[in-house]
Subunit: 452 residues, 2 copies
């Protein structure tokens, strides 16, 4: 029980063999006790034709949840499209409407139309309704399937209604209470409802909602609210307060994981959000675009060296010190940058005074670390038999560049954030260009001044 | 309702004024309707003495939850220690034991002893029990407060017990069912229990647990299970299957956020997990250690230039091309690295064949992008009036270095992962050292060969 993923490796192999052998009965028996998330892994490891076979043979509820738990993207869309249309429609109507809408959104327009036509009118309507919302908003995350009761009911009537609705709705964490125009009044705890006098009204049990969201709120913001207030689900309402749906914590966990991946890749200059699953040629092109941006900035940095070619020619040891001074600036700048980017992402207030303090902190860190690293580097240069003048130049250049790094590393992300640009995407190229140019300029400029 | 954080800014200022004026009554009234998470922000923005005043004046349940929602760390530990011991103990006993244990763990040993002695014996025992576990494990996350019933009860008896226990336990998402030795048999849905015949046994309602964890499981692994199986809570059992506690999704969301911060900072060489909150001198020292590692690797890379000083002396334009070739290798290597690190973190299987495929992909990306970027750089060199030989050297060096970058960027994190080292911490320094050295070696080595 405690390590289900590891045990699954063997199961997975066995199922793949059964699917390859076309033994439907044995297959059905073998998967009967499996969790859809585990089964999804198995399906993903199978050949296309075996995927279709397995999903056709499984009970509809298990098959539909397995499909919902597969990686989002082309593979499962193709699998859904490859099923008999009637089977495809059956699986979709088994699913909560948000999962169904996510699947339908991945289909080609042709396939989408065909499946929606095969669905019962009501299901198709719900899915069409959800498809209107941008998938990265609250509307794109929510399900319209929820348990709500009218505020006019007695506790006994409300409990009866919860029992009926509860059979249809999976994992409801709160009972929503609405007025006669479907406007959300609040939530009610199931245990409070159960213990209330059946004849009393539910009004006394209603707690105001901790937070509500509008359907166009960005999914990251939804995640922050759920995380801030420890909510298992959050209601989505329109501008009149009418209850439209709910978003549950598990959707938010998925969003957080996706955003995490995106942030890390963006900081490294991989801007394609689908990077972990894209084809080879997509990868080449996505990376190349970013590397071209970097190439232009590299030319910029190198142009500083070009200007000082004469100085390098007179003292070739400068070419040895160049990568050290520029590289250390880049490293220190990246440190400051990561702290600023993460502080901004966690919505720490970096406006006004707090922002200034951060910049001063970072410049101060650069002042201290710069002088230490500068002295060490200068001593290394002296040990290599270079002149004291050369050591002095290296020390001053390193010192100055680390101060610049602290400044650029903290200021650049804040400025980008103010301009509405995601600091995770663009900060790093600005900061390292800055530290490269300043590093070369300080080193070669000081050398030129001291040597002449 | 929809944007509670923004509305809070004004409230926050008002409360700070009231606290500064010492107006306890107005203060109590003003905060009565606030969520503890919002109140925690307010408290954090106050002066130390006003913090103590506010937490002393608030109702105990609100004050304790506010304390629990404050940022973990020294500030709230000092606040707790500054309260009257009796008040401190009162707040602790209001909290779920996992939150209380987290707070107690932050106290100085002296304070810790004093507060535990002021607590009722049972509460102190629970907290001491939880303090035994490493805070980054399942045991460190779990609360022992849960709703469990014996499998021998009837549905009616079980419901009565749930009503009693439910009053004490906040946010229970499942009813756990145990045998006569407290071993976990499974979970039961509250709505199923409510609708069952009161005279029937609960046995028929028990569903086997989807997953259980041992107390020493790493918190990241717990997060993966909760996320994989969409669980609102996961039971913690010992090696005999005895139910010890439960971990809820909101703790896991906090863990995910902390790990996200840690990953991003580590990739940037900020290895201190408390980096966003550490003092200035801690920051200086933590960064300096990492920069020293980088300095050593920078010396390594510069030593390649040192060996080829003669070559640079004969053709100083090489000093201009050096940062371009080395830098582009670093950028391309970082892209490959981020993809590999994130794939490893998401537990994608990169053993054996999948790992080989990843390396081949990345080397292939380097082959294509390297030749394109190499040609562009060579053309730029020719436009700057350098020789065709020089252009050829630059092109070949760039090409080779991007292939090296693809190789190192994918292989290094996989090797570190195999060795049990977090690839997020160490990969980047290895990869950029590799691309710097290879970049200089290819550029200067080829130049030396072609020029002589």
């Amino acid at each position: 029980m405690s390590t289900p993923e590891h045990e699954n490796d063997e199961v997975q192999e066995r199922l793949a063999r059964l699917a390859a052998a076309g033994d439907t009965d044995a297959l059905q028996e073998a998967v009967a006790e499996m969790h859809p998330s585990d089964l999804a892994d198995v399906v993903e490891s199978l050949e296309d034709e075996h995927q279709v076979m397995l999903l056709s043979a499984l009970p509809a509820d298990l098959a539909s949840e397995t499909l919902a738990e597969m990686e989002e993207g082309d593979e499962r869309a193709e699998l859904l499209a490859a099923l008999e249309p009637a089977r495809g429609a059956e699986l979709l109507s088994e699913l909560p409407d948000d999962d169904a809408a996510d699947l339908v959104a991945e289909l080609e327009p042709e396939e989408r139309r065909r499946l929606l036509e095969a669905l019962p009118l009501e299901d198709a309507g719900d899915i069409r309704g959800l498809l209107r919302y941008d998938e990265e908003t609250a509307g794109g995350l929510m399900t319209t399937e929820l348990v709500s009761v009218a505020v006019t009911l007695t506790a006994g009537q409300a409990l009866d209604r919860v029992r009926v609705l509860g059979r249809e709705v999976e994992d409801f964490y709160s009972v929503f209470v609405v007025d006669d125009r479907d406007r959300l009044l609040g939530t009610m705890r199931l245990d409070h409802l159960v213990t209330a006098d059946p004849g009393s009204g539910v009004t006394g049990l209603v707690e105001p909602p901790v937070a509500t969201v509008l359907p166009d709120m960005d999914q990251e913001e939804v995640g922050r609210l759920i995380s801030r207030y420890n909510l298992a689900s959050i209601p989505v309402v329109n501008e009149f307060g009418v209850l439209l749906g709910r978003i549950t914590f598990d959707d938010v966990i998925d969003v957080m994981e996706a955003e995490h991946t995106e942030d890390i890749l963006r900081l490294a200059g991989v801007t394609d959000p689908e990077a972990l699953r894209s084809t080879w040629s997509e990868t080449v092109w996505a990376r190349l675009r970013w590397l071209f941006v970097n190439l232009l900035t590299a030319f910029l940095a190198a142009s500083v060296v070009w200007i000082f070619q004469g100085t390098v020619d007179r003292m070739v040891a400068l070419a040895v010190a160049m990568p050290i001074v520029a590289g250390m600036g880049g490293n220190a700048g990246t440190q400051a940058l990561a702290v600023a980017v993460r502080s901004l992402a966690l919505k720490e207030d970096l406006g006004g005074r707090a922002g200034l303090i951060l910049v001063f902190r970072e410049v101060g860190v650069g002042l201290v670390n710069g002088v230490i690293l500068g002295v060490v580097t200068a001593l290394a240069a002296l040990a290599m038999d270079e002149s004291v003048k050369f050591g002095l130049v290296v020390m001053l250049a390193m010192w100055g560049n680390l101060v610049v790094a602290g400044f650029a590393g903290s200021v650049v992300p804040m400025v980008l954030d103010r301009l509405g640009i995601d600091p995770a995407v663009a900060s790093s190229v600005f900061v390292t260009t800055f530290t490269d140019m300043c590093g070369f300029f300080l080193l070669l400029g000081l050398a030129s001044a001291i040597l002449s």
